[in-house]
């Protein structure tokens, strides 16, 4: 990279803006960021130059409309390094639940003029449409993790993300397992680490917003959830939730829905 500061853009697609808010919540490092990068587009924070060519693009949101498709291709073309930020951009997010349902029926039931809505039949992650250089999951994304990735990129390194379960982060943080000590149906054992075990640290079960970890034994965990009193539909919904469109969770959801007794 030359002496000029690298350019950064933050783009929003079909999403709730929560990941952008997570970035804005960074605190002190956020104030340091403009010394290191030139933020040319970040609508939530002010700068609005959406068509600029940049070194790094952080992309929030899923690809859910024809307009999203056009725009993400443009962003890809304009970016040297593209980071998918949060569970919507990585896996399609909660809105991908619609992929399992009849969209048209829902839209006519809810909207007075459904014909004015122009959406794709599916909601998917960014990598289903363009090459993504780095995926940072979560709902919202862990802003410290984003910062680490930016720091690596700024020093010319490929960012590295630890592939392990939430459980390891949870135990390192001194949290007693909520599944074992409280009977909470926690998705931590099959979920990718990165959040710092936020939910278990607050006494709740992990809801899998980082999507699947490397090895997902859904049959065994589902069996355990049933023993904790969840009915088969509720077990399926644990996998078919916010990261429902991530391959391993999608496969698990399909299997569990297919025949809840054949496990």
């Amino acid at each position: 990279m030359n002496r000029q500061k690298p350019k950064l853009a933050v783009h929003k697609f079909s999403s709730c803006d929560g990941c952008q808010l997570a970035l804005l919540n960074l605190g002190e490092p956020l104030l340091q960021l403009p010394d290191l990068v030139d933020i040319v587009h970040f609508a939530e924070a002010g700068p609005c130059e959406s068509d600029a060519e940049v070194d790094i693009s952080l992309v929030e949101g899923s690809i859910s409309t024809p307009e999203d498709v056009r725009r993400i291709r443009q962003v890809r073309e304009n970016s040297r390094f593209l980071v998918a930020l949060g569970v919507c951009a990585t896996y399609g997010g909660l809105q991908a639940l619609a992929n399992f349902n009849d969209r048209d029926a829902w839209m006519s039931a809810i909207y007075p003029q459904p014909q004015r809505i122009d959406i794709l039949p599916t909601s998917k992650g960014v990598s289903d449409y363009v090459k993504v250089d780095l995926q940072l999951q979560g709902c919202p994304v862990n802003s410290a993790q984003v910062l680490n990735a930016l720091r690596d990129l700024l020093s010319g390194m490929k960012p590295s993300v630890a592939i392990q379960s939430v459980c390891l982060e949870c135990k390192r943080n001194g949290v007693a397992c909520v599944l074992v000590s409280k009977g909470e149906p926690c998705m931590g054992p099959v979920t990718l680490a990165g959040c710092g075990a936020l939910c278990p640290a607050n006494g709740r079960g992990c809801y899998g917003c980082y999507g699947p970890s490397e090895l997902v034994n859904d049959a065994s965990l589902a069996h355990r959830f049933e023993a904790l009193g969840l009915d088969p539909q509720a077990v399926t919904r644990r996998f078919r939730f916010i990261a429902n469109n991530a391959a391993a969770f999608k496969a698990a959801g399909d299997r569990l829905e297919g025949d809840p007794h054949e496990r």
Partner: protein, 338 residues
């Protein structure tokens, strides 16, 4: 003391913070605190962690560096003295195993040592065994057997105290203690004998366990792999597991960095990763690595198994996998050595 539904070591300012009569119920994959009838302070067994986090920190900085010009600075922990009250025999045995690992003469770990030297260990004889305990079969409990500074046995009428080290002696010397009478000593013995008799599980003997390395192709490994989540909880709660991962963290401006180490697990992908290849790519291989190392490999490395019978890996496994049963199944008569 009790925190988040489990017994945990936490800073205490008053004895009131201990809960009289508190007990724990432990089963494979299940842990619950229960309020019992009595008013004993140490009727529980243990929580998810032993002494391990207090010597081998879950996450710590090993050193820091500056970039221009490149310089490395040591970052040893500034550990204040700390007394751990209520440590059990199995965890003291585990601590001595970790001491051997981290402080062996060739390469003593200064970070571990710094923390270790600040510990004052108040051990307690277990009055009961949890359903998941099997320290009798590993020879590590339930009565204290060295490794503590002060030992305690809790009787109905109070506590029996005895020093286990010079450091402990200087403290007990300053206390106004009555000598124990024969009846009290008998009670103490009876309590731990009773705790021993309560144990329902046992681990095969070390010589038998060494044969695990001759059963690497046993079909039961797949049976465990079908249940195992490869989440690493067993390794995190195990008081002897020592694997750690190191990595650099750079400051945002790129001028400084630090080397951080944190607990790793042989169940994580990074553990066996090298240059694009995973040596252990599936659950079977990872569980087999853990069990064979813990129960067989450790014997060659340290002269004993890496298991002290605390049973945490059974209680805290989200799906209740029981290493005593798995080891026994793999060693069972009729299956053939290779």
């Amino acid at each position: 003391m009790a925190r988040d539904g489990a017994i945990q070591f936490a800073e205490m300012t008053s004895v009131e913070q201990l809960s009289p009569g508190l007990t724990n119920e432990q089963q494979p994959g299940r842990y619950r605190l229960r309020q019992g009838d009595g008013d004993r302070l140490f009727d529980w067994n243990h929580g998810p962690q032993g002494v391990k986090p207090h010597c081998f920190s879950p996450r710590e900085v090993l050193w820091s560096e500056q970039g221009e010009p490149l310089r490395f600075q040591p970052r040893l922990p500034a550990q204040a003295p700390i007394a751990l009250v209520g440590v059990r025999a199995c965890d003291l045995a585990a601590l001595s195993i970790q001491d051997k690992h981290f402080l062996h003469a060739d390469a003593p770990d200064p970070h571990y040592r710094q923390r270790r030297e600040q510990l004052l260990l108040i051990g307690v004889d277990c009055a009961h065994s949890a359903e998941t305990c099997f320290c009798v079969s590993t020879g590590d409990g339930p009565a204290l057997d060295g490794g503590y500074d002060i030992g305690i046995s809790e009787l109905d009428e109070g506590f029996l105290l005895w020093p286990g080290s010079d450091k402990g002696q200087t403290i007990t010397d300053r206390l106004a203690l009555q000598p124990a009478d024969d009846r009290q000593l008998e009670s103490m013995l009876r309590i731990s004998t009773q705790a021993a008799e309560e144990q329902q599980r046992s681990l095969p003997q070390p010589a038998e366990l060494r044969r695990l390395y001759r059963r690497l192709e046993h079909s039961h490994w797949q049976d465990v792999a079908d249940r195992c989540l490869a989440c690493g909880n067993c390794t995190a709660v195990c008081p002897t597991c020592f694997c750690y991962d190191t990595g650099h963290e750079m400051s945002l401006d790129g001028e400084n960095a630090q080397m951080v180490r944190q607990w790793d697990s042989c169940f994580s992908a990074g553990h066996s990763y090298m240059a694009g290849l995973l040596v252990r790519a599936n659950v079977l291989q990872r569980y087999r690595q853990w069990l064979t190392h813990k129960l067989a490999g450790w014997q060659e490395q340290q002269g004993r198994t890496g298991c002290t019978g605390c049973g945490r890996c059974i209680s805290w496994c989200p799906v209740g996998i029981d290493l005593t049963q798995e080891a026994a199944a793999i060693l069972r008569e009729g299956s053939v050595d290779v």
